[in-house]
């Protein structure tokens, strides 16, 4: 009976070890006395706090757990607000003056501590225009998710897991060391695995395993690529280099090596090796994104996952794939990007079209929304394949906008499931009569997702199309077709849930004749926050887009221009 508790203790213990290691790193340079705003406040703190909470909660009896759930979730919420406050403050320069106008391979708030000296692993963190929006997004989504799923059962362990998830995700975005990156990359799987396994739907066991094994297999291929890359780099000496292997996992060193080598007509590691390594790394990221045909884990995971898990999974975890692509393979192997450009475009287009068409054939609301994520992630690939700064900026903005909109989609699905005990489209008609708030949020989220102007998603879609046309011409009709299909499946599902039902409304059978309730206060608060930010970033996209545009310009200057393509 206590097997689950032991599992929790196991992760708790593991994470404490990680956190402990982190706390005892010696600093590389003694002269640098600036405060480290990333390691502990953004990454370490949420993970350590959640570990302690989990370790504490898992020791209690079932009856006690119900009692301690309230203080624990309050504490978790407060703890999750700290990274949000810090990342917001960093953006507005409230804490310290941060120079976000960075050149390629320059990072703000960079910090480096030696970790495993023998093989050249260091705890190296920093942020730039690529990672900062994602870091802010993650720190924003965690408290919103906690609020939205306030009443989830077993809150004593559920909410700390969400917090841990947030810390691990931020860790992925800030790490500047391949080893560290991979550690956090896999670390994100663990809380998600348990979220699905413990709080999921009927088929949760299958979904959790599929999710874990599928993405893990892909990550292993990526790991092979990373290790090959590690050994193919030139040997060097210095504090970053391993004392035994003579090589380093440090990304900044890798970037400068690659840039220096790519100058002129040279090709870093040779053309064939570039193409092979690029493909290996991309495979890991494409599965995470996910792109068709590697997408089938996503609908299963989403349908079974609890609302909070889905919100973070769709909101941030998918973007890890896009982030990884831009951070590693595209930055290191510019020649391979040109080589694979059309294939990336084709995969993006197939994801976009296939995701949308399959959406139209779904009868399960959450499954439909999951496939719409696949479709939207295709847009990111199109932006990358356009080989224009505007396309890359659009991809970044798509990541960001979808990161705000898709949690709202899943929050709506979750509320629907919670109050109507069904996910079938058409099982409930005339919802507007019973749950006017839920109906409004559903319509808002659906409209945002189908790219209505003045909401966040539109700018990204428009910019991708603008970047796409000069490069691929009339292929643009396919994304255009998808715009119409997207509207079709969203409107069709709204017609059969919000609308219709006659004067009396028609509550679903799953309610057994009870009057359907409207959403709770916490769901209301969570969704309205997401809605407000969708509008803010829709009307004033430049708040986030400015930084992204700067980053893409620096990226093109640093990567493609030095490559001499």
């Amino acid at each position: 009976m206590d097997i689950k508790n032991k599992e929790f203790m196991l992760i708790g213990g593991l994470l404490v070890v990680v956190a402990g290691l982190m706390a005892f790193f010696p600093s590389l340079s003694d002269s640098d006395t600036a405060v480290d705003w990333i390691s502990i406040p953004l990454v370490g703190f949420p993970i350590i706090v959640s570990c302690i909470l989990l370790a504490f909660a898992s020791q209690e009896s079932r009856a006690r757990k119900k009692i301690i759930a309230v203080p624990i979730r309050l504490f978790t919420l407060c703890a999750s607000l700290i990274p949000l406050a810090i990342s917001t403050a960093l953006f507005f320069d409230w804490l310290i003056l941060v120079d976000w106008d960075l050149m390629y391979n320059e990072f703000a708030l960079e910090k480096e501590y030696v970790w495993i000296e023998s093989i050249g692993v260091s705890w190296h963190v920093g942020m730039d225009g690529l990672s900062f929006p994602m870091v802010w997004l993650t720190s924003f989504l965690v408290p919103v998710t906690i609020i939205t799923t306030w009443n989830e059962k077993d809150g004593a362990t559920y909410h700390p897991l969400l917090l841990m998830m947030g810390g691990a995700l931020i860790g992925v975005f800030v790490s500047l060391d391949l080893f560290l990156f991979y550690v956090f990359w896999e670390l994100t799987l663990i809380p998600m695995f348990f979220l699905i396994l413990k709080w999921g739907g009927k088929d949760r066991r299958y979904a959790a395993q599929k999710f874990f094994i599928y993405t893990f297999c892909a990550s292993v291929i990526m790991l092979l690529g990373l290790i090959t890359l590690y050994f193919l780099q030139p040997e060097g000496s210095g504090s970053q280099y391993g004392s035994v292997t003579g090589r380093t996992f440090d990304m900044t060193v890798l970037f400068s090596n690659a840039t220096a080598y790519n100058m002129g007509d040279n090709v870093f590691l040779g053309e064939d090796m570039q193409n092979i390594l690029f493909a290996m790394l991309m495979l890991g990221f494409l599965v995470k994104l996910p792109a068709v045909p590697f997408h089938t884990w996503l609908p299963d995971a989403h349908v079974q996952a609890p609302t909070g898990g889905s919100m973070l999974l769709a909101g941030v975890m998918l973007k890890m794939g896009a982030y990884g692509m831009l951070r590693l393979p595209i930055a290191i192997f510019p020649d391979a990007v040109v080589f694979y450009q059309d294939i990336i475009m084709a995969i993006g287009l197939i994801s976009l079209v296939w995701g949308a068409v399959v959406c139209l054939g779904q009868t399960n609301l959450k499954r439909m929304v999951a496939y719409s994520s696949v479709s939207h992630m295709g847009v990111i690939l199109l932006g990358i394949a356009s080989m224009q700064p505007i396309g890359y900026a659009a991809a970044l903005f798509m990541m960001f906008a979808h990161g705000i909109i898709s949690p709202m989609l899943f929050a709506v699905c979750g509320a629907f499931k919670h109050h109507y005990h069904s996910m079938e489209i058409g099982s409930m008609r005339g919802m507007a009569k019973w749950s006017p708030y839920l109906a409004v949020y559903m319509m808002f989220a659906w409209m945002a997702s189908l790219g209505l102007p003045l909401l966040a998603g539109f700018v990204a879609e428009l910019m991708v199309l603008i970047a796409y046309w000069p490069e691929y011409g009339w292929w643009i009709l396919l994304p255009g077709f998808v715009l119409a299909i997207t509207a079709a499946y969203y409107l069709w599902s709204m017609q059969r849930t919000i609308f219709e039902g006659g004067d009396e409304g028609q509550p679903p059978e799953s309610l057994n004749g009870e009057t359907p309730p409207d959403i709770t206060l916490s769901e209301n608060i969570g969704m309205i926050i997401l809605a407000i930010f969708t509008v803010i970033f829709g009307i004033f996209p430049f708040i986030a887009l400015g930084m992204m545009d700067q980053w893409t310009v620096a990226f093109f200057e640093g990567v493609f221009n030095s490559g001499g393509i």
Partner: protein, 729 residues
């Protein structure tokens, strides 16, 4: 080019209603059902009215300031985008902003939008707040109403094609929400979805057109840059024509033209004020506005390079004009007749614009300005008249409802099921209302005459211009004979279906008991009807003030004084020095004034009940219709039972074909793909999973636990290693 002045506050015109949207929604949620909210604030109606009044005043100030000069103002930079040249490695940054642009086109449409939004708001308070079906949800109506107004005003004021599109979509959203206002009716939710999706198909092409235009004009979509004649001349006109053609498809969807017209009649499911505002007077004009905005491209591009597009625009217009008029012949639903009439009249304007664009692109500047002026003037006249007609029809429907409730109340036997059988919108239940609803009947009378083009009233001034322009192009370009002929025939058809509607509703004897009990009794409703009646009758003043010329050419200096103006317009129309045009005018007048209405009178005319008397300005028409009806004994049963009439009833099968195509092809394909996705793509993953599980089961079977097997394996393994070592050595 920014300047200060009233234009700095122009941004408030769309912003005020936009801000009112959440306010009304929130207050409505808060105070729903309280007496103050219902009685004094009219469930948000008064807030909306205040805001629309403020917008109207601001709009009038802006119009007064910018009657004769273009104004622009920047608001903020929306986003920056960078482009990389893969040859040189240079990176250039484009800035894209938000701003306001005011010229004569803006001024005209701004007036139409602000004025009608305000009047229809007045009407709504009378119409919506007195119908018990709307109780406790009118705040939602007013919130969506002001959001729509914000979209329309914003679209008109926007300074770039992109912002035009953004507000265009906002209107599309509000149209969707308001058509589906009675969300519990399956027909309303179906109509809302249909409207959004059909226009969305057009919008997709519009976006692609914008993307192409963005590319052609080097990252600019703002009017100041793209309308610069040098910039236009530098652009490949072949590509420009395709881009503009793509954008035109968007206009076709929004303005409900063939073949994307199917949504408009269904959109009548929305409350009548919505039909009046969105689906007659403002939003459907957005497509026309977009095409009219393209004018500078046509005058700036290579001579004749864009003629094909101009011809296509005119032909789409001509086809729709006749097709919609044909379908209107058989409609029994009062609002549906008006919907098809809207479609048909918008098509006229498209034909006029097509002629103007053709002239502009072929170097006939004066003729282009004339055609443009006529088209835009028709847009103005049509918006005023059609807004009024819809409000009048709303008034009829509203009072029919009331009367029906009264009748049903007296007669308790039918009380239970009265709602299921009675259709308050069907003209078959009306008749003889002219004496019972004098204001409404007058408004409808004047509005119909304006739409028909009865000389000296409203639409006459502009419609003649459109027909004349189309024929003038046809003299130079034979393909143009098609739209030119179609709009000429359409004039007669308009005369028929509009007269049919009026006589069926207001003349003759009441066809049901309900129609006998109708009274004009609702407050607020007559205000906009009277205002617009005078507005429509006053079109002659605008014509005299050379509105047509001014709309076609901003710096027109012909205007000297009013009487000369009217005189020259009269002369221009009735005694044209060009004999061809003069004959054409009289043919058109003959068709629309004599032929169409006479047929309608012969079929549907009749005198009122004994003792009932209509106002004198309508009584003569009723008397005439009764006389013609008696004399002619015209029998149309052969026509009415023909297969043509049947297919007209089915709207020429467009809806059926589209539905079938969508349901069979698209949905069928989608269902197949969903199966393919789970069976094959996911199936492959599951196959890998089960194969590896099977393999591991086999390997596991080797672990037998028997020492004999292990010794055997050890021996075998040693042997293999030995052989391998031996082989290497």
């Amino acid at each position: 080019m920014s300047e200060s002045g009233i234009i700095d506050y122009a941004v408030l015109i769309p912003l005020l209603p936009m801000l009112a949207f959440p306010v009304i929604l929130f207050l409505g949620k808060l105070f729903n059902g309280t007496p103050t909210w219902v009685k004094n604030v009219k469930e948000g109606g008064i807030i909306a009215l205040t805001v629309m009044g403020a917008s109207l005043i601001l709009a009038l100030l802006v119009i007064k300031e910018h009657m004769h000069h273009v104004g622009t103002a920047n608001i903020f930079t929306w986003f920056e985008s960078s482009w990389w040249n893969s040859e040189t490695g240079a990176i250039t940054t484009k800035v894209f902003g938000v701003g306001i642009h005011i010229d004569h086109l803006t001024v005209m449409l701004l007036f139409v939008a602000a004025f009608l939004c305000f009047l229809i708001n007045v009407f709504s308070i009378g119409y919506m707040n007195t119908d018990p079906i709307n109780d406790n949800r009118n705040h939602r109506f007013y919130a969506e109403f002001v959001l729509f107004c914000s979209g329309m005003l914003g679209m008109v004021l926007a300074d770039s094609f992109l912002w035009l599109f953004i507000f265009w979509e906002l209107m599309g959203l509000c149209s969707y929400l308001l058509i589906g206002f009675y969300y519990e009716r399956p027909s309303a939710s179906y109509a809302a979805k249909k409207a959004f999706l059909t226009t969305r198909v057009g919008d997709v092409f519009l976006v692609i057109g914008l993307v192409m235009l963005w590319n052609l004009f080097d990252g600019h979509l703002d009017y100041a840059y793209v309308f610069n004649q040098e910039n236009i001349a530098a652009v490949n006109s072949g590509e420009l024509q395709i881009a503009l053609g793509m954008m035109f498809i968007g206009a076709v969807g929004k303005s409900a033209q063939f073949p994307l017209h199917v949504w408009l009649p269904d959109a009548m499911e929305g409350p009548t004020p919505v039909s009046a505002l969105i689906h007659a007077a403002t939003m459907v004009n957005a497509g026309l506005y977009l095409v009219a905005r393209m004018f500078p491209f046509f005058s700036g591009a290579e001579l004749g390079a864009l003629s094909t597009l101009a011809i296509v625009i005119a032909c789409i217009g001509g086809i729709t004009a006749v097709m919609a008029a044909l379908i209107a012949f058989v409609q029994m639903d009062l609002k549906k007749v008006l919907a098809y009439s809207t479609m048909s009249q918008l098509a006229y304007i498209f034909t006029g614009l097509g002629s103007a664009l053709w002239f502009a692109n072929n170097g006939y500047e004066e003729l282009a300005a004339f055609a443009m002026g006529a088209s835009l003037f028709h847009l103005f006249n049509h918006a005023m008249a059609k807004g009024m007609l819809f409000m009048a029809s709303g008034s009829v429907i509203h009072e029919m409802h009331h009367a029906h409730h009264e009748v049903a109340h007296h007669d308790d036997d039918h009380h239970d099921d009265h709602d299921d059988h009675f259709d308050a919108q069907s003209m078959e239940n009306m008749g003889g209302l002219a004496s019972r609803m004098p204001i409404t009947a007058t408004a409808m009378f004047v509005g119909s005459m304006s739409i028909i083009g009865i000389p000296l009233i409203g639409g006459f001034w502009s419609k003649e211009g459109i027909i004349a322009s189309a024929w003038q192009v046809a003299l130079k370009e034979p393909i143009f004979l098609l739209p030119a002929l179609l709009v000429l025939i359409g004039a007669g058809m308009t005369g028929f279906y509009m007269s049919r509607m009026w006589f069926m509703t207001f003349a003759g004897k009441p066809k049901t008991e309900v129609a006998e009990h109708v009274h004009e009794q609702t407050a607020w409703i007559p205000i906009p009807l009277v205002t617009l009646t005078f507005m429509t009758l006053g079109a002659i003043i605008l014509a005299g003030m050379h509105a047509g010329h001014w709309l076609g050419d901003f710096d027109d200096g012909h205007y000297t004084n009013f009487f000369d103006g009217v005189g020259s317009e009269m002369e221009h129309v009735f005694l044209n020095h060009d004999p061809f045009l003069m004959v054409l005018t009289y043919v058109a007048i003959g068709l629309s004034l004599v032929l169409g209405p006479s047929f309608a009178m012969a079929l549907y005319g009749g005198s009122l009940d004994k003792g009932q008397k209509a106002k004198p300005w309508m009584q003569w028409a009723i008397n005439l219709s009764a006389k013609i009806n008696k004399k002619s004994k015209f029998d149309n049963s052969e026509w009415a039972n023909s297969s043509l009439a049947e297919s007209l009833h089915k709207r020429l099968h467009f809806d059926d074909i589209y539905d079938a195509a969508v349901m069979k092809i698209v949905v069928g394909f989608a269902n197949l793909s969903a199966i393919f996705d789970s069976k094959f793509i996911d199936g492959a993953i599951k196959a890998i999973e089960s194969t590896s599980q099977n393999a591991s089961r086999r390997v596991r079977a080797l672990t037998t636990g028997s020492a004999r097997d292990y010794i055997m394996m050890t021996a075998l393994g040693t042997l293999v290693i030995f052989i391998l070592l031996w082989g290497v050595a």
